[in-house]
Subunit: 488 residues, 4 copies
Amino acid sequence: MPQLPLAHPFDDDKLREECGVYGVIGVADAANFVALGLHALQHRGQEAGGIVSHDPVTGFQSVRRFGYVRDNFTKASLMETLPGQLAIGHVRYSTAGSKGQTAIRDVQPFFGEFSMGGAALAHNGNITNALALRRELIEHGSIFQSSSDSECIIHLMARSFQKTIPERMKDALRRVEGAFSVVAMTRTKLIGVRDPLGVRPLVLGRVGEGWVLSSETCALDIIGAEFVRDVDPGEMVVISADGGVESFRPFRPASPRFCIFEHVYFSRPDSILGGRSVYETRRQIGVELAREAPVEADLVCPVPDSGTPAAIGFSHESGIPYGMGIIRNQYMGRTFIEPTEQIRNMGVRLKLNVNRALIAGKRVILVDDSVVRGTTSRKIKEMILDAGAREVHFRIASPPTAWPCFYGVDTPEREKLLASRMNEDEMRAHLGVDSLKFISLEGLYRAVGASEGRNAACPQYCDACFSGEYPVAPSDMIDKGFRTKAAE
Amino acid sequence: MPQLPLAHPFDDDKLREECGVYGVIGVADAANFVALGLHALQHRGQEAGGIVSHDPVTGFQSVRRFGYVRDNFTKASLMETLPGQLAIGHVRYSTAGSKGQTAIRDVQPFFGEFSMGGAALAHNGNITNALALRRELIEHGSIFQSSSDSECIIHLMARSFQKTIPERMKDALRRVEGAFSVVAMTRTKLIGVRDPLGVRPLVLGRVGEGWVLSSETCALDIIGAEFVRDVDPGEMVVISADGGVESFRPFRPASPRFCIFEHVYFSRPDSILGGRSVYETRRQIGVELAREAPVEADLVCPVPDSGTPAAIGFSHESGIPYGMGIIRNQYMGRTFIEPTEQIRNMGVRLKLNVNRALIAGKRVILVDDSVVRGTTSRKIKEMILDAGAREVHFRIASPPTAWPCFYGVDTPEREKLLASRMNEDEMRAHLGVDSLKFISLEGLYRAVGASEGRNAACPQYCDACFSGEYPVAPSDMIDKGFRTKAAE
Amino acid sequence: MPQLPLAHPFDDDKLREECGVYGVIGVADAANFVALGLHALQHRGQEAGGIVSHDPVTGFQSVRRFGYVRDNFTKASLMETLPGQLAIGHVRYSTAGSKGQTAIRDVQPFFGEFSMGGAALAHNGNITNALALRRELIEHGSIFQSSSDSECIIHLMARSFQKTIPERMKDALRRVEGAFSVVAMTRTKLIGVRDPLGVRPLVLGRVGEGWVLSSETCALDIIGAEFVRDVDPGEMVVISADGGVESFRPFRPASPRFCIFEHVYFSRPDSILGGRSVYETRRQIGVELAREAPVEADLVCPVPDSGTPAAIGFSHESGIPYGMGIIRNQYMGRTFIEPTEQIRNMGVRLKLNVNRALIAGKRVILVDDSVVRGTTSRKIKEMILDAGAREVHFRIASPPTAWPCFYGVDTPEREKLLASRMNEDEMRAHLGVDSLKFISLEGLYRAVGASEGRNAACPQYCDACFSGEYPVAPSDMIDKGFRTKAAE
Amino acid sequence: MPQLPLAHPFDDDKLREECGVYGVIGVADAANFVALGLHALQHRGQEAGGIVSHDPVTGFQSVRRFGYVRDNFTKASLMETLPGQLAIGHVRYSTAGSKGQTAIRDVQPFFGEFSMGGAALAHNGNITNALALRRELIEHGSIFQSSSDSECIIHLMARSFQKTIPERMKDALRRVEGAFSVVAMTRTKLIGVRDPLGVRPLVLGRVGEGWVLSSETCALDIIGAEFVRDVDPGEMVVISADGGVESFRPFRPASPRFCIFEHVYFSRPDSILGGRSVYETRRQIGVELAREAPVEADLVCPVPDSGTPAAIGFSHESGIPYGMGIIRNQYMGRTFIEPTEQIRNMGVRLKLNVNRALIAGKRVILVDDSVVRGTTSRKIKEMILDAGAREVHFRIASPPTAWPCFYGVDTPEREKLLASRMNEDEMRAHLGVDSLKFISLEGLYRAVGASEGRNAACPQYCDACFSGEYPVAPSDMIDKGFRTKAAE
């Protein structure tokens, strides 16, 4: 596996979305559209990608590869092996486990051949009872190809007594707990499902005479597709080649709990989530932050690139000039051989550089999207001070991240999260900055447009990473000894 | 050669710097420092890179590769083949000719073995009498390894009667016309030279007990080196392993003519050129532009990423809010198979997307660094209008680019330059925008700090791409029929 | 997949063994022994290879690759990923289907995780009721990973109610029809099984304190292992890490029917099969052939390399001198671009050349191991005549190959076999040679030591490819319309 | 560079030819013919290969690659980059130096651009005054691209005052000492030259309307070319596209001294050298050996593959049966990870195996082509005895190799040659065999057809490796301290 230069400069110290899903039906060369869509969703998963297509002549065809979409799914000789008017695809991050263990067989979409024909399936999210399901399936003779939680769905489908694949899929998904936005295909149908809480996004679009399912709207734009609507929480859509979209509600109704961190960090700023512009939400977070935690300073600097919209908002609200105090190396690079003469903060230097001429002598407000382990924040602070800044003030566009996510985001164990061990003031001292302020949970809800504020009884979003209130009990983790806030 | 995803989103429609050079002496594992330095200079050349090192035991060692520094010069097994306390390196763009013809033998540094020992050499710039020199050298029995103009220098050195390599280098460079910043090495010396006009940058830094030569200061920062001073136009520095820096002036004195486009586009914003912050210069260009060409609007948007500092400056000066109306796909991608259903502006969509929610209904000022062919500007305008902008105003952070560069920048032939065929108003009509304004040449000189303005008799910078006033006659090109402005 | 230069010069016109299997228990670095063993079995399958190892710390580890063993399983960095004292491996040929369809997931060993732990399995042979089994398993919810017949065994094991893996394996193999020599492993046991007829070979050896299972004895020699005995037809051996070998007889007893073609062509000449030297058997075939079909001539030439031992025997018996009239290009090569000026018999020329000086003016006896399609025999005849031979006499070291094999050998469809359409005399005329003689089936039985001759009622070997008498009904093929001789 | 499995089983303990050359003019797609020819010459050099072609439209094109011809020059996409009716090629072994130092720039053909146009050149042999020439050329300003002795020729040509390339080549080659068979090309001519002694072979052939130059005749056969004649020692042929062959004699006349080891080992047995069949010569060596050194035994075995023809001859003359006592693994393999449990003679086992059933209890005569270091002979002897042979008698098809070759063969330093330190009896004891006999130098001359025996005053062949009588003084080596026999 070639070394993958990740594109977020501080990936080691960020939460990471685990997947993006995409599907197209009813247009020629559907796989080429899927390749483009996955390219636009690359920020949701950079480790590997896969596409399955179906054509009446060649049947199902599949290509799965480590690495970027642009490096794999751009060669004509490869794309010609994926013919047909129906295709789905997936991009994935490595799971929390050691990267070395990821095998190509863990790369989605997964495929299963049933007596009524084949089906392929791509999953964004995380199944919180996957271990229990897996144990049960193995006891009954299923053989797993991968270590992925998502493979359970295919095996549950294989064992269903239903006569059609969509019905088998309903059967299977009713047994599954956790978060899932699934895009699947049979020989003739494109299927999309969101879990009852709608934790992960999924949207429906139209391209020419065909239909598109995508994790985000930015991947509709890239192919010139028109946004139609969100797939609803708890909804299954079954789309035929001739253009009909059937809608089903296979699950018990529930109050939606969309992941609020999609707004803060995961999704692309040019996407629209649940009717709200991500960019505008982030800018608004900056505005709220400037109101909640003002400070006298000379310069508002984003930590690139994810802190940029909030920094712009902070500058707009505070009137303090916005400037690029940190310049990102657009070529990135994960590893170089460290020369004998030790270079301080070498890892960070590969990715960014301080704009000394701008920083020197200034009181600087640094706006970042989140603090996870805090390791990168410390290094950035050092570089800023080395460059001659007079003061450094951190403003964070999310509340303290104190709880791990079990719904499809790769988070460190709880004790690795800085905010699980320290309060805001301890963190400030730990980072060694002049001030440190996180936006409040209420402020964040205001920024996402919940004018009435957070509904504590039944929050409008999943904010478990901040609040420790898990909308679905993470049963596998509880079996392993994890204690939720409620249990503490 | 793997497909290289270039990092400037509109690389096809930009001028391209052809090289970056770097050298280190006096520290262990010098090649590892060079690898880091070249990584920081990657924006100056992405097609290929090379490093030569010297160690008393293994002698000269060389590695030259197509592709990014991070993909080639990061493996321990490779870097171990480049031992020693002395190393130089080079990153290069393809020359104007067809890319297919570039061979690994054209990748620098070049190496020559002379009777007094070997020397390696890396060159940023362009030799304007290379064809004449090459013809003469071949007639006298020299055998060229490459199609590169830079190889002439090595052959001229081989034929010099001087007894030391630095003296042979002086001999050779006195015969060479054009622009050159050269970093070279013998078994014991690191050498840096700038042509008499100092067209291309070259700086001297200190790292521990050792010394560094670099095209830009940003590549000093990455290894924690301290900036010492610019190598002067017309200066040769010869640096010994024991730390002494000797300075020579081998050329007839001349008025410096540093490339003004380094400030506009080529150099990284976090570099300091001739004592001036590139970022601040670009921001100031935006300020000047807002003064010269104000317009009523709702939003100032940069064309990412190179237009960003000028857009910030324009916003500061005009008071019009700054916003990210165009979102760049940070994973880029040069080629995908175009699906049958034609996607409008597919090439541009791979690289960026319009932030519809921000743009819709607004009067938008787009700030870009330059207009070369104009092809990309048209596509961006279309996407902005499709997204519902009410008005589109282009503001360009450089004067019209009407003349090709012969000093180390890859420019299209003159007739391909939009500004060579049209005046500002014709260009506005051609692009189909509500207004189009370039900064004036005088305004640009003000922004780079020439408070007295441009000295028409003897301009302080090389601005031939705007003015057609070539400080060194491009003799090879004139032989081929090119007519300078003076000749018209 | 890189182009694989096959090593038999006329591979296109030969029957091809589909697999070799190997396993080692009770010695450190068992996977390294397996790599060596597979290298020695490379002639049994060149398309791909795989190794699974088990170590208490790391659990099961697996590597599967296209290409030669020597190109894949020789790197320390790779072999270190296969730790432990227990490992099995497999080399495979492509199956009869189009090569393009082979995927890495079809490469063995296969692995399954059961409730009592994992097991890996490698199979030489062919399951003649695989399609029926697969259909049944899918109907009950099994999901197949590959298109391989061998995967049925793993799924049958997964669905068994037995409590141990060896017992589940017995359950599974009792449902399987056809030919199988299986090497399998659990976390602590190495298992070997041969089908009741013992169609494919499998031997047991001892290396130091450990044990080895191998398709052939030549792969014991390479690691310095001592030959212990053949695994018997219908026997299962279960070997523990502490050295015990348990023997079971899970199947109903049957008269053995070892594949006689292993002696003629598949096995290496330095192997011992069922107590007989393959080399000596082949030499003896030559002796019998010289007795059955003598001819006056000047020279006995083998068609290299597989005809060599029989040619030596023919020369010994006939007294006609042995000589190398055909020289094999030891570097082989499958494909070159054919130059515009058409080269006659280009494919054959890449692999061999006639030794003109030896052939010219002579009456030549060519000894080959078999005639399949006959295409290569024609080309060789032409080259021999072009070189000036006076007469060409073909002597074939096997009876006419008139029936396809369904027990693990890749044969063309019946109508492609020359001997299915023509008698000996028609073949002679078709090939255009002065004489053509195949050894008789009786002569072949004499050569393999059946002094009493072939027992027509119950032949001592499987000779279905010559006789059309299939010892196990090929039920999947019969479902598809194949008609055995008995059915005709 | 991928690991290259060499094809001679004991390559580590053999002398190695350093090159093969090939050229074609006057047929379409000449490079495809050259690829085939180089494939047939692969035994003369396996490390790397190169082809240069010329076409009036595209000019000179060149491809040079490490590895086998079949792996590099078989792809249509590559071969299409080598258009034209004129092409030359080269295969090379690594030189005596460490393999790691070989760079792609050392791979021939070499190319030089002169004022009258370009020329490419491929050289088989070795220039014995290359160091002196190189020193002189560097002093006058030539820059060497490679560490190859052959590059001198191109530089000498570049400095000649002659007006045409053939005349410049004459000038250059008159300054060169040693052995050379050169194939060269200009834009319109194919040129072949042999040194005055004709140490290395070179033949002329005809294909269709075009002409071929080749190191050996076996490479004419592969393309269906007709053998015309040997290029004479001291002859230069200049062949035009329109079919004319001009012959020149640029050197002072000398008595030919063709390399006798080409007959013993280097050339392919199906080649004709100086009118003699290599196979027949080798068989005749076996006959002479049986006469000179008879022994009572049960079996004559070749050490495969190079000992085979002599073993056949020995068997014919002695009446002792010929058999394959050693079986070569046709897949070879240079390196495997040695398992912890040490395997005796692992290196040899990767390449061959003893045919125990044939060897056990027998008195065995092993026929090998030569003994260099003797390391392999010892290991083979051990394996033969382990297999139960009663006696082992070595018969060697060449006289003791006691002197290094300086004419294009890679030999160990003199002290590494077993025969330089021991007489025949000491070698027998060292190898631990029952008898050891080399053919006499006189016997060898008889076998190559010198019925009158070796002319001691002026030997008909170069036999320096046996006799220490160097026909051309190895001046560079003498400068380095080497003492010839005459000097001792």
